[in-house]
Amino acid sequence: MTEQAIIAGCLHNDTLAQRELYTKYSPKMLSVCYRFAQSREDAEDMLQEGFIKVFTQIHTFQNKGAFEGWVRRIIVHTCINFLKKYKKFNENIGLEYATNLQAKEETVPSIMQGKQVVECIRLLPIGYKTVLNLYAIEGYSHREIGSMLDIEESTSRSQYTRAKAMLENLLIKRRIIEKPKEDFNWLATFSK
C-alpha cells in the first residue's frame, strides 16, 4: 500500500490503513521514544499517546514535507510532554557522574553498535539526554529546545556540551569509539 493510500485511508478513519501506518512507522518511533524514556514501558506509553495524536490530527498534515517527519515531530513532542509531567530539565550534573556510570569495558560487535549507542545515551541524566537527543539527533536548535523544555537557551547549550562530553567518555569506555589523539603541541615543546 502506498503512503498516499495509507494517508487517504487514515483520513477516512479506516482501521486497516491505520494499522498499516502503525506497522510501518512504529519500530522507528518506538526507538525515538526509548531514547527519551526511562523504561521500555514508558516508551510504549509515549508511542501509544503519539500515534493516537497522529490518527486524530492527520487532517492537519498538509503534504508539506515528508510524512515521516511530521509523524516524528508529533512523537517527539509527545515524549517531551510526557517527560515534562514528571521531570525537571534544569539539573546540572558534573562530568564526574560519567565515571560512576556502570559501563563495562568491552568491545562491542558492530551489529550491536546502534543499540549500544542508544543505551549509552539513555544512561545520561534526563536533562542531558533530552537536550542531546533533541539537538544532536532530532535536529532542533537550542532556541527551540529552550522553548520546548521551558529552560534558557544558554542552559540548553551548556547541558548539551556536558552531555556530549559525558557520552563521549561512555562510548570510549565501551570501546565504541577511540579516544582522540592529542595534537602535538609544538609551542609547548619548543618552550621547554
Binding site: 521500555r40 508511542l47 542508544v118 539527533i137
Partner: protein
C-alpha cells in the same frame, strides 16, 4: 572502532546509529490505540441475545411460579386429610401442612418407630401407652373415632389403628409437644357433649395444647370448617385454567441470500455507460452465510385451531462478498430531479483484481430487531403430533450501518451508510410439525423470510432484496390463570 571524532563527526555518528536502531512494540500498544481511536468493538448479537434470554426466563418464571410439583404434593396431602375429617372429630388440622414439612425433616421418625408405638398401644396397657405418647409429638393425626365410643378405653384401639405420624419433641418444635392423655380426654368429651364444640373453653384449650392462636372469625362458624380455619387450614387451590393466550419462544438458524436488480435509468441521461446490458448478478461474487433469528411472543387463540400472534424478534442476516483490498473512489450514479448526478465515496475494496491486490472477504452483516405480527393455523391438532402453517409481517429496524454496496460501475464496494434504509418490512412463511409434552408444544419446520423493500433507499439504483431460508425450532405453552 574506526572513528576519530571531532564534534560534528560525533553528532553525525550518533544520528546514524540512532537511525539504524529500531524496536518493535508489544501488541497491546496497537490494541490500546485502536480502542482509543475507534472505541470498544461491541457485538450487538450478544447484547440482544442476552436481553431475549432474560425476557424468556422472566416470563417462564412468572407463569410457572410456584413450581407445579410442590403445589401438587401439598394439594394431595390436604385432600387426604380432609376426607378423614369428614367422618370424625376434627383435631389440629394445621398438622396437615406440618406433615409436609416433616416429610423433609431429617428428624421425622421412621415407619419402624411408628409400628413399635402401635404395637405398644395394642397391648392395651394404658399406663405404658400414656407414658410413651406423652413424650411424642402428634403432627398429623386425624383420628378415626367412632361417635358412640365415649371412654378412653373405647377409643384407644381406634387410635392405634389410625395412621399416626409422630415426631419426638425437639428443641426446634417445642410448641407441637402435646400431652396425648389430655387430648384423649378432650376427644371423649367432644363425643359426649355436643355443646362443647362451640364453646370458647374448647377453643382456648385446644389452642393452648397446640400452641396456635385461634381465629376469632371462627366464632360465627361452628362447623368443622370453622375449626379448621382456627388452625390456619388452607383449602386446596383451584387448578389453574388455560387462557386463550400462549407464550412462544423460538430460534431459527437460517442462510441468507440476496438478489440484486439494477434499474439502469441512468442510461437515459448519459450514453456510453459501461455494463449497460450486463446482469449485475454476474459481476459480483457473493456467498450466502449463516444467520439466525431469536424471538419470543404471545399468540391468541381466536378458535381452537386459528390464532393471531405477535412478539419481538432479533435477527442476524449476512452474506459474504469476495473482493480485493484496494483503495479507490466508488462512484454512485444517481438520477434525481430528472438529471444525472453522482456521489463519490472512498472505497477500500475493489470488485476486480486489476493490480494484483490481496483478495479478501467482506461480511455484509445486518443486526435487526423486528416485531412480527402474524396468523397461525393448526391444520392437524392431534393428541401428540400436529401440523401448522403460519405467516407474519415483520416491521424491521436495522441496528448497524456498516454494510457494503457496489458502485454503479460495479468496480468498488463502499460503505453504504449514506443510502441505507433503516426501517424495512419483511414477511415470513413457515410450516411446522408439532409435538406435545404436557403443556408444552414443540415445533420445528422450514421457514422462508423475504425483505420487501431494497436494503438501500430509492436513490441508489441497484436494488438489493434479501431472503433467508431457515429451520425454525420453538416451544409454545399456554398461559394459565
Amino acid at each position: 572502532m574506526e572513528y576519530n571524532f571531532n564534534n560534528d563527526e560525533l553528532e553525525q555518528f550518533l544520528r546514524d546509529e540512532a537511525e539504524e536502531h529500531t524496536m518493535y512494540p508489544s501488541e497491546h500498544v496497537w490494541d490500546n490505540i485502536r480502542v482509543e481511536v475507534h472505541g470498544e468493538t461491541s457485538w450487538h448479537a450478544l447484547t440482544f441475545g442476552t436481553l431475549l434470554i432474560l425476557l424468556v426466563l422472566t416470563t417462564l418464571t412468572v407463569f410457572n411460579y410456584p413450581p407445579k410439583t410442590i403445589a401438587l404434593k401439598t394439594n394431595t396431602l390436604i385432600q387426604k386429610t380432609e376426607s378423614v375429617i369428614d367422618n370424625n372429630v376434627a383435631i389440629a388440622d394445621k398438622t396437615a401442612v406440618v406433615s409436609l414439612e416433616d416429610q423433609i425433616n431429617p428428624e421425622s421418625i421412621t415407619r419402624r418407630t411408628l409400628e413399635t408405638i402401635q404395637q405398644n398401644l395394642l397391648q392395651n396397657d394404658d399406663q405404658l401407652y400414656i407414658e410413651r405418647m406423652a413424650d411424642v409429638d402428634i403432627v398429623a393425626s386425624p383420628l378415626n373415632i367412632s361417635p358412640n365410643k365415649t371412654t378412653k378405653e373405647d377409643i384407644s384401639p381406634d387410635i392405634a389403628k389410625s395412621t399416626l405420624s409422630t415426631t419426638y419433641p425437639t428443641d426446634n418444635n417445642p410448641k407441637l409437644v402435646t400431652d396425648i392423655s389430655d387430648l384423649l380426654d378432650e376427644e371423649a368429651h367432644v363425643a359426649t357433649d355436643k355443646s362443647f364444640a362451640t364453646s370458647e373453653t374448647r377453643k382456648s384449650r385446644l389452642a393452648n395444647k397446640l400452641g396456635s392462636p385461634l381465629n376469632s372469625n371462627a366464632d360465627a362458624d361452628p362447623s368443622a370448617d370453622g375449626l379448621l380455619k382456627d388452625f390456619a387450614y388452607q383449602a386446596p387451590e383451584k387448578e389453574k385454567q388455560k387462557t386463550r393466550l400462549e407464550f412462544q419462544v423460538y430460534a431459527t438458524p437460517s442462510v441468507s441470500y440476496r438478489k440484486l436488480e439494477d434499474d439502469k435509468t441512468r442510461v437515459y441521461y448519459q450514453s456510453g455507460i459501461q455494463n449497460l446490458n450486463a446482469n449485475i448478478n454476474n459481476f459480483v461474487r457473493h456467498t450466502p452465510a449463516l444467520g439466525f433469528e431469536l424471538g419470543a411472543g404471545i399468540a391468541y387463540n381466536i378458535t381452537p385451531s386459528f390464532k393471531i400472534k405477535t412478539g419481538l424478534q432479533f435477527n442476524i442476516r449476512q452474506y459474504y462478498i469476495d473482493a480485493y483490498q484496494s483503495y479507490g473512489i466508488a462512484t454512485i450514479a444517481i438520477v434525481q430531479n430528472n438529471h444525472l448526478d453522482s456521489v463519490q465515496l472512498f472505497s477500500m475494496f475493489s470488485n476486480s483484481n486489476n493490480n494484483s491486490n490481496l483478495s479478501t472477504k467482506i461480511d455484509n452483516k445486518l443486526y435487526q430487531i423486528s416485531i412480527p405480527v402474524g396468523l397461525q393455523w393448526d391444520i392437524i391438532n392431534g393428541k401428540k403430533f400436529g401440523l401448522s402453517i403460519s405467516g407474519s409481517l415483520q416491521p424491521t429496524y436495522t441496528l448497524n450501518k456498516n454494510v457494503y454496496m457496489i458502485s454503479t460501475d460495479y468496480k468498488y464496494y463502499a460503505n453504504g451508510a449514506p443510502f441505507f434504509r433503516k426501517l424495512n418490512l419483511n414477511s415470513s412463511a413457515e410450516v411446522n410439525l408439532t409435538y406435545k409434552t404436557g403443556n408444552v408444544k414443540w415445533y420445528i419446520g422450514p421457514q422462508i423470510r423475504y425483505q420487501h423493500y431494497p436494503t438501500y433507499n430509492d436513490v441508489y439504483p441497484i436494488k438489493e432484496y434479501r431472503m433467508d431460508y431457515g429451520l425454525k425450532i420453538g416451544i409454545s405453552t399456554p398461559i394459565l390463570k
